[in-house]
């Protein structure tokens, strides 16, 4: 089985936000929720850098560990998914997540956050693959159709890579070797406890 990961080649990201838009459109993500976002560090200054970030589908995911009702599960592909029928909207996954991935439909006063929403790696949820119930709650299930997440597929500079961790790491290594520089796989050490050394 493949171990699915995201890899943002920050040297290529041009902050076009196409991944953000593609994700919102493909998954019909509700207003106010962004499963993926692009953040620019040192914006407008010398040495600025943009990174596209969403759920990294961590190994031994912290959200899954802290969830008081066991709403999370990790698929055989290493994708971290959750059940909105089980979620009680306590907000703990947001405190534990190193990447700020969990989102809630409401602000959360009086504990009224609503059911958590996050990147599903375009792999839906616990409902039957491709069903309407799955689409309404979680959005598309491209993985079941043999396709990769829309954000990475749409990336205009191929900065954002999705796929089996070993394969995308190899692609990244080749790039770094060819162009002679690379800022590393952002978030990999935190998410997977490994870095790509070239």
């Amino acid at each position: 089985m493949a171990r699915m990961k995201f890899l943002c080649d920050a040297d290529r990201c041009i902050e076009c936000n196409a991944c953000v838009t593609a994700c919102k459109n493909e998954n019909e993500v509700p207003w106010g929720i962004n499963r993926r976002r692009v953040v620019t560090i040192n914006d407008g200054k010398p040495g600025e850098r943009s990174v596209s970030m969403a759920c990294m589908h961590c190994s031994d995911a912290p959200c899954q560990a802290v969830c008081p009702v066991n709403a999370f599960y990790t698929t055989a592909d290493g994708v971290v998914l959750h059940s909105k029928d089980i979620c009680i909207g306590c907000g703990y996954c947001f405190y534990a997540c190193p990447f700020g991935a969990p989102q809630y439909p409401r602000v959360g006063n009086f504990g009224s956050r609503g059911k958590m929403d996050k990147c599903t790696y375009c792999a839906g949820g616990p409902e039957p693959d491709g069903s309407m119930a799955e689409y309404e709650k979680y959005g598309a299930n491209r993985l079941a159709e043999g396709k990769l997440p829309m954000c990475a597929e749409m990336c205009s500079t191929k900065s954002l890579l999705a796929g089996d961790g070993e394969i995308i790491a190899e692609i990244y290594k080749e790039r770094v070797a060819k162009r002679g520089y690379g800022s590393g796989a952002w978030g990999w050490n935190t998410a997977y406890r490994e870095t790509i050394t070239s």
Partner: protein
């Protein structure tokens, strides 16, 4: 001859030119690639410098501008491991001590027996405030413990859907009952603060172990040293738990994710210790001491109980130096 010299000079000149051209490049190198982001920030450097990596985004949710906060892993360890240990040791430890103490000491009896005459100890308002706070506390404690211990202890006993339904109701109960609980803590503070200022009598009381070990009755005013301790645990612990709880209930109002994590840690640790302390309070107010429960139950206590446990208070009431109770002292009523 002149022609050969000219030829020689051309060769030397060409060699010199070649030497200049070659030496201006590093040995054996083709032009190196340019790194356009050589001066840009790196992940490791940012994480070493700050606890989080932040930037600027283009969506309204400013929380999303933090792209990495590895501290979430530490918080997870606290919540899944450390807190469970603190809770288990504090709560089971106190329970265990109480069981041992009960087996050794049994119920503290009214030594001189019941006199049949009673005296008002807590009026209706005081009892209402106490039980309002106490009821809220029990529900808050159980619904709070569910968040920490429900997954390992309760979830295996029921279906995930049933556990979610219960946990969601527990969460709402926890949030909304915080208001009457906080009000209760406020009222308790103002209502009983006068009788709960520590003084010399308490030092003596604690030196004699509150009279709990042997059949000893150290003197006490309306509240003895142990009760004052419980009072300040409720007021200070309840205050701290309310502040940290409201920070959690109104997430990210002037707080960032670190503050939210810290608020949750403070809230849960104080809660575990609070629950452990209240177990001791419940014990001594019920099976631990004869004649104690009725003080908060029906509001009156037996004169002999008051003599043994709060002799100085009884004197105060009798001499009328405690004005708010003096006029409420009822005529002696038959106890049986």
């Amino acid at each position: 001859m002149a022609a050969s010299i000219a030829k020689f000079r051309i060769i030397v000149g060409a060699l010199a030119l070649l030497w200049v051209a070659v030496s201006s490049y590093p040995a054996g190198a083709q032009p190196t690639s340019v790194d356009p982001t050589a001066n840009a920030v790196s992940e490791q450097q940012l994480l070493q410098q700050f606890k989080t990596i932040q930037g600027r985004g283009s969506i309204p949710d400013t929380k999303s501008y933090t792209i990495e906060q590895p501290a979430g892993r530490d918080w997870r360890h606290f919540h899944e491991v450390t807190l469970r240990w603190i809770g288990a040791v504090a709560i089971l430890g106190v329970l265990g001590l109480l069981v041992i103490f009960y087996l050794l000491r049994g119920m503290v009896r009214i030594e001189s027996g019941r006199s049949g005459h009673t005296i008002v100890r807590f009026n209706a308002v005081e009892r209402f405030v106490h039980w309002m706070t106490a009821t809220c506390f029990v529900i808050l404690a159980l619904s709070g413990l569910n968040i920490t211990f429900g997954k390992p202890l309760l979830l295996p006993l029921m279906s995930p859907e049933a556990f979610t339904a219960w946990s969601e109701w527990a969460k709402y109960a926890h949030n909304y009952l915080s208001f009457p609980f906080t009000l209760g803590v406020f009222l308790i503070f103002f209502m009983w603060v006068a009788g709960n200022i520590p003084n010399q009598v308490d030092v003596e009381w604690f030196k004699r172990g509150g009279g709990m070990v042997r059949n000893d009755h150290p003197p006490a005013y309306r509240f003895n040293g142990g009760q004052k301790l419980i009072y300040w645990i409720v007021v200070l612990g309840g205050g701290a738990i309310a502040v940290s709880g409201y920070l959690l209930m109104f997430p990210f109002y002037g707080t960032d994710i670190q503050t939210m994590q810290n608020a949750e840690m403070a809230h849960s640790i104080i809660a575990m210790l609070f629950i452990a302390a209240m177990l001791g309070h419940i014990y001594i107010g019920t099976i631990g001491m004869e004649g104690a429960f009725e003080a908060m139950g029906i509001g009156t206590v037996d004169i002999n109980w008051a003599k043994e446990h709060h002799n100085l208070w009884l004197e105060e009431v009798r001499t009328g130096t405690q004005p708010h109770l003096a006029q409420q002292q009822p005529a002696a009523t038959p106890g049986e």
